[in-house]
Symmetry: C2
Subunit: 195 residues, 2 copies
């Protein structure tokens, strides 16, 4: 393994460690020292890999943004054409709740991205997180469902915002340690369905 690869790997390891701690204890309660310790390295070394704590958060968010983009563009072409809107969204939820246990980092990334978008986080990271727009994409799906008569009436963007805000709320509850394994995705889908 070349030195550059080694470095890349180390960076990623730090990013992952930071991600998990940020979600577990919150950005401000996570000290650089904590991350260093969790990643088994000295405090000083952290700054060999990242300029500052803020930059570290920013990089985590950028990684999340990339992942989201990849995910949604992949979804855009493949499944979305075939699957009915409700099935598509529901399978997304099912997947995400599954990840909460099996792929905590994917789950944590979603939680963090949502948190950083809101107030009370360093501006730079916030902006980066806001770039990622899942509303427009979801609104499109909802619109489709409305045309098919399976989703309720209402501004698709507003419904999408409401839907994701609810998902975010639930995922944060999960991240906070509550065992919500048995939540039925259908409960959330009901928010969108007609009748």
């Amino acid at each position: 393994m070349t030195r550059k690869e080694q470095k890349e790997e180390r960076r990623k390891a730090i990013l992952m460690t930071a991600l998990n701690l940020f979600v577990e204890k919150g950005y401000y309660e996570t000290k650089i020292t904590d991350i260093a310790q969790a990643a088994s390295m000295s405090t000083g070394l952290m700054f060999h890999y990242f300029e500052s704590k803020e930059e570290l958060l920013l990089e985590v968010v950028k990684m999340g943004a990339q992942g989201t983009k990849a995910l949604s563009s992949g979804a855009d072409s493949d499944k979305m054409k075939d699957l009915p809107p409700d099935v598509y969204l529901k399978s997304f939820l099912t997947q995400m709740f599954q990840y909460a246990n099996e792929q905590p980092w994917v789950f944590n990334m979603f939680v963090l991205m949502g948190q950083v978008r809101r107030a009370g986080m360093p501006e730079k990271a916030r902006e980066a997180a806001r770039q990622v727009d899942s509303i427009e994409f979801t609104a499109k799906i909802i619109r489709k469902g409305q045309k098919q008569g399976i989703f309720r009436k209402g501004d698709p963007k507003l419904l999408a915002t409401c839907f994701w805000a609810s998902v975010q709320g639930i995922m944060e509850e999960m991240a906070a340690g509550k065992d919500l394994r048995d939540i039925d995705p259908e409960w959330l889908m009901a928010m969108l369905r007609k009748e």
Copy 2:
């Protein structure tokens, strides 16, 4: 006005100012200086009224806890007896969304209480916020609705947790400045309703 009253009033003014800033900018991004400025007083004076920033947060939370207790015990006796469970919960949501515009502090208090319960906040305040339990209370209402056949099947506590987590998510989105005035409480009620 006696001196004691004066002091009490000042304390409350600080608590309100802090509450609003905490929700607007987040606890950690809110500097004691910011609160002092917003409350038109010197930085030092803040410490005449509160031991520390943490204690200030704790007091805000205690105030919230009191309010919640008063509210829910009042509700317990009055409305809950008469109103059908779905009507009761829906009117609560309607009320709360209304408050977002007309009584921002009530709304902000709810948002803050929810935030403080989660990770990433000073431990003391977190504990105090966790004392307040709206889950048990809501679960009771949900159970009632299930017996009447108007709410869906499922563990009432889990449904309650899911319901409040969603409400929290939406309220945070509102607090973050998004205009969600037109959200229909029915969208959230659908999470609980049968069919």
